[in-house]
């Protein structure tokens, strides 16, 4: 199957007074139609930025400084703003973290949905309204027809996020970029929203790039997962393999530091130190100062993703013997 989205050696830079900050470097991955790819990492690892680059919403002065993003075979990272606008929403939908700020507080929910539908699809006002009602019903909002004429502040946090999901699905996009869709919600609501997102995307055949810092959400939802560290992908592979047999020491550390529900440990595995700032990324592998298995090569040469068991990891431990 040809991939729906191909990200190829993507590099995002922020020019500053003190030189260029490389926020994303050498990011490569693909998403197949209907697939759910998780992107996980700690704050500042570059997960949200990757999503923003794909939907063409990098905040200036940030810019794509290298590499390519191809959607359905067409290059989209260099498209003019108006061209990109036609793709965004129609072919690539977006869901953001905070459901309150992603809805316009001055317009009714119905107006926002109908406007989105009519922008992208050639349907009449009445048809658009019917579609909007159907979308709200699909996302599990009771009394959808009456709710259509209410304003976002009349909805609870969980209900708002349902509206945002309905908006993202309004034009039947092939890909949805969901950036921390459940982080602002309570645990019991999180579970509802995640299962809703998963079900709807399956029904509509949309692929999802799910950005989150919650490994639990990733485990339950995704087919594959990319683990990011300091602006690069540290490991990428099938969810089960990454969780149960992580190949990169950072993934292993990350998994060990999460308190588990089914085992008792007196101490959690801890990764000492913190992720480096963008202007102080160490030479060689960015993780080397914190890595328990660091050796000479890690400090000098930067590893690219290489096959490691059933995943691919950017770690010299997995280099073929000959070149070590």
């Amino acid at each position: 199957m040809t991939p729906l989205l191909e990200v190829d050696h993507l590099r995002v830079e922020f020019p500053t007074r003190h030189g260029r900050l490389v926020a994303l470097d050498d990011i490569s991955f693909e998403i197949a139609p209907g697939e759910i790819l998780g992107v996980v990492g700690e704050s500042g690892a570059g997960k949200s930025l990757t999503g923003a680059a794909i939907i063409g919403l990098l905040d200036p002065p940030g810019r794509v400084a290298g590499g390519e993003i191809r959607f359905d075979g067409r290059r989209i990272d260099k498209l003019p703003y108006e061209e990109m606008r036609k793709i965004r929403g129609r072919h690539i939908g977006a869901i953001f973290q905070d459901p309150l700020t992603s809805l316009n507080p001055l317009y009714t929910v119905g107006r926002q949905l109908i406007e989105t539908i009519q922008t992208h699809l050639r349907v009449s006002q009445a048809e658009a309204r019917q579609r909007a009602i159907k979308l709200l019903q699909e996302t599990g909002i009771p009394a959808a027809e009456a709710r259509l004429d209410q304003y976002p502040h009349q909805f609870s946090g969980g209900m708002r996020q349902r509206v945002v999901i309905a908006l993202a699905l309004a034009a039947e996009p092939q890909l949805i970029v969901a950036d921390e869709p459940t982080t602002a919600l309570d645990v019991s609501i999180q579970a509802q929203i995640i299962s809703l997102l998963k079900r709807l995307c399956k029904e509509h055949g949309a692929a999802v790039m799910l950005v989150t810092h919650d490994m639990g959400v990733i485990a339950e939802t995704c087919d594959r997962v990319a683990v990011m560290y300091a602006g690069r992908i540290a490991e990428i592979g099938p969810v089960q393999a990454v969780i149960h047999a992580p190949a990169h020491p950072y993934t292993a550390g990350l998994m060990g530091s999460i308190p588990a529900m089914d085992e008792d440990r007196e101490r959690l595995l801890q990764i000492d130190g913190a992720m480096p700032r963008l202007n102080a990324i160490p030479a060689g592998c960015a993780y080397n100062p914190r890595c328990p298995r660091v050796f000479a090569r890690c400090r000098e040469e930067r590893p690219d993703l290489m096959p490691a068991g059933s995943t691919r990891a950017a770690c010299w431990l997995h280099a073929p013997e000959a070149s070590r």
Binding site: E42, V187, Q190, A219
Partner: protein, 330 residues
């Protein structure tokens, strides 16, 4: 073992009415929120008691009542046999305040950005007159920083020079300065990344072992709570619905709300497991449901649940407030 903290029928009501003029002109009624509504529990010396629940359930209000940041509307907080709620509001509260400290959720908001770490940590020492003289203070602040894994030289830096995890360690060092026995930790790791959260949780556990500290640990993250606590109270809309020790609560949750919360946790080790979808949302605390406040979301609710409020009953070592459990229906 003796109880260090005993909370008896604690209640806190907040007046959230519209301003006087609006009430007169728009004929609005007075409105009150029962943030904490008859909560009782005890914490044994040297143990960790955790309060869990969703946002708005009153866990943080309980924390603030315990350290005297709020005065209770009704009920008592007994600290080592002393009526703490009353004494903390009076001039005699200073000696007691020294024995209990609080760690807040947001390490960015809870440290004064214009004070160097030295001032932040030495303030409680000076305020309580525990260490005399700058030289001795410096030594003590250095020791405190070392006990949370920071360097003594860090005392001259400002909060913005530290990462989130390091700031939370500074908060812990400040809380430890007066040599307290009891620490109230209100979501101490919620603002932190998982790897940093592990560092902070490990430090808290080490300190508890070394100094015999007693913790009230507040969190919405059940996995974290399971890791740190000895016994757990589950709160829903200002009331405790279940109190049990850790093993019992996680192995055999009794209250339907506890079961629902446990089902809602995404579990990284059981990929693909179907969760029981949680129904409904937390009702508006301004207008809580009658009877058991959980009944609109509860799959086991019957007529009695809608009218009669269940009390906490002890059954097989677990305290549960549920008619269905009491009647043996679940």
């Amino acid at each position: 073992m003796t109880a260090l903290v005993e909370v008896r029928d604690l209640e806190k009501v907040f007046d959230v009415s519209a301003p006087w003029l609006n009430r007169m002109v728009e004929r609005l009624p007075h409105q009150f929120v029962h943030a904490v509504d008859g909560v009782s529990f005890t914490i044994e010396r040297g143990r960790t008691f955790a309060l869990v629940g969703e946002s708005g359930c009153g866990k943080s209000t309980v924390a603030r009542l315990l350290v005297g940041l709020y005065a209770p509307t009704r009920g008592k907080v007994l600290y080592d046999g002393i009526d703490a709620a009353e004494q903390l509001q009076s001039a005699r509260g200073k000696a007691l305040r020294r024995r209990m400290q609080m760690i807040f959720q947001d390490p960015y908001a809870s440290l004064n950005p214009r004070w160097p770490v030295w001032d932040i940590i030495s303030e409680p020492l000076r305020e309580h007159g525990l260490v005399k003289g700058d030289a001795a203070l410096k030594v003590r602040v250095g020791e405190l920083l070392a006990s949370v894994g920071l360097a003594a030289a860090d005392m001259h830096k400002f909060p913005h020079q530290f990462s989130g995890g390091q700031r939370q360690r500074i908060s812990i060092a400040r809380a430890l300065a007066t040599g307290p026995e009891f620490l109230v930790c209100d979501e101490p790791t919620s603002a932190l990344d998982v790897s940093v959260q592990a560092q902070v949780l490990n430090i808290m556990k080490d300190l508890q072992r070394e100094r015999g500290l007693t913790y009230l640990f507040i969190s919405h993250n059940l996995a974290v709570v399971r890791h740190v606590s000895d016994s757990i109270g589950v709160m829903y809309l200002g009331r405790l619905v279940e109190i049990a020790d850790k093993t019992r609560l996680f192995a055999a949750p009794r209250h339907p709300y506890t079961r629902m919360l446990l089902d809602a946790i995404p579990d990284i080790h059981m990929s693909g497991r179907a969760r029981t979808p949680v129904q409904g949302e937390v009702p508006n605390p301004l207008n809580p449901p009658s009877g058991c406040s959980f009944h609109p979301r509860c799959p086991h609710a019957n007529a009695r649940c809608k009218t009669e409020r269940p009390g906490l009953l002890t059954m097989a070592g677990v305290q549960v407030a549920c008619h269905a459990v009491e009647e043996g229906r679940i």
